[in-house]
Symmetry: C2
Subunit: 339 residues, 2 copies
Amino acid sequence: MGRKVTARDVAELAGVSRSAVSMVLNGRGDGDVSPENQEAIRQAAAQLRYRPNSVARSLRNQATHTIGVVTDSVASGTYGGAMIAAASRVAAEHDFLLLVVDSHKDAQLEQDAVDLLQARQCDALMFVAEGLVPWQPPAAFHDDPCLLVNAFDPSGRALGIYGDEEQGGREAARLVLDRGHREVVHLHGTTDVVAVGRRIAGYRQKFEAAGLPVRLVPCGWEIDDGWEVGGRVLDEQQPTAVVCANDRVAAGVHLAAAQRGLRIPEDLSVVGYDDDPSLAAQLGLSTVQIPFDDMGAQAMRTLLAHLDGVPLPTADVELPSRAVVRRSVAAPAARGRRG
Amino acid sequence: MGRKVTARDVAELAGVSRSAVSMVLNGRGDGDVSPENQEAIRQAAAQLRYRPNSVARSLRNQATHTIGVVTDSVASGTYGGAMIAAASRVAAEHDFLLLVVDSHKDAQLEQDAVDLLQARQCDALMFVAEGLVPWQPPAAFHDDPCLLVNAFDPSGRALGIYGDEEQGGREAARLVLDRGHREVVHLHGTTDVVAVGRRIAGYRQKFEAAGLPVRLVPCGWEIDDGWEVGGRVLDEQQPTAVVCANDRVAAGVHLAAAQRGLRIPEDLSVVGYDDDPSLAAQLGLSTVQIPFDDMGAQAMRTLLAHLDGVPLPTADVELPSRAVVRRSVAAPAARGRRG
DNA sequence: CTGTTAGCGCGTTCAC
DNA sequence: GTGAACGCGCTAACAG
């Protein structure tokens, strides 16, 4: 590769000293360098396409304008990717770049990743989880400013930013309650997932406020689960609406309903969760959107502000979920009800 | 943040000079430093959790162990994400990190991105396109080793790695020819997309070799296009199989077939393209997989090998596409044929 | 076998 | 208004 152009080259071409170049290009030369020399320097820099070597600059400034990101699963996953893309966009607006390392949910690799990013002198660290998880930051995490995205620190030491899952549960409930449904079953996901408890809590809150029974049925996360468990529920409980653990389960319920000759939404309303980009719109599924984009963007904004001296929030930040209304929900038809 | 530990600290704790630390930790101290001192150094380093400041090391070594990636669309897109994830994985295995910048298909941003990555002293540059495109690298691109992924340089100056689309067309053709179909229509995508011409060429080749007519029908890329154009084709030409521009079009053809009471695959075989992770498996669609993962991984391997002194390939590298057989193809039923 | 020294390119301070 | 000198932390050449 051809020799890189340095500040010395610019200085020579402009007929000034290297320090003058540095001052002018950093906007600090106004009282120190003559206007004509400033102009000469700028021209020389442009002519040589000079860009300061940011490695040298980082070493000198003790700041790399780089945010390290540790993510627990493929950075290209649908949801993780959205958070990281949003964070990256905000970072770019502030001339920051991201260094993303995938830990593949392996604790050792995670530790290594943090070490690596610290050695690379990232100005701050970010941990991004695909699904809301408790996360104990490695000790070294606290040496630099850090933020948890879609994760929370049980010890409360690190700040977390994540979606308000309880409110998400309320939104899901509203989607059916507002249309007058009273016979509703909630096929919820496995309770090892933290978000499930919160969603159920929000869901329960709305139903109890409406004086309606809360009917919970444990279910999995896949199409098959929705088809199987959903089918059983349709047979045994004849609900007018089903609120599902996610959009895949909702897809399964769609199939189970079709199999029984039930039309959606005329005979059965279905609510999903996640707003899966490849599923929800396609099925016309009303669903609840987890604010992945907001999380990534907001986390990055918070982190960058912090680097500018703004103190971090003292408590975790919960971002609102949004209901997306499509054609899978309607008012319940007048049909036979149980007792 | 607590003061970072440097080689000087390690040297003091071990009671040796800083250069001894550097040598030992870089494995270059075997003939130069006494075993006991080596041990002392290693212990001191471990005790202090010393990690060399890689910014300083980069400045000194004129190498950052970083690959810059410019991508023309959201790095989290289904396919771009897969290529970058694969590249990232291979890079990590060699202790390289990726700096990814999204140009949003904007030529100016693209130029800025290249400048930025060069200023950051990336050891090499990679351009990743979501769909196969001709791409004229900015002049500065050539200052560093560089590689185009899913893109090719019309001027032939930069090396490209991409899927063999012509072979993909052949695979799609084989999917139906091998099962004995003779009345086949190819709903191809808009010809502004480079890959389309190549796929048609491969498709044509197989059909002409079999002595069968090549029936091409221009179509778009969306579900609606498949539904509309596919429906018309089913009505007017009664093919026993349809080969589609992509999986979304194939989904549209599924709908059109269902509407006409045609069962898949009994009455109609359908072939998609792309192996869309959210569509193909779900619909049981036989399709042709574009080797995104291979492209990313292979490109990174090639680039890293080049940094180790291995010369780059002299001609573009085309990676084979793979047919994925699912239940949407079967032998044609014996039914009325046209003259 | 060890320690001293000279930069990598930049930003800043301090004499001129 | 300007330019020489220093140091960020590291590696490698060279003298002891």
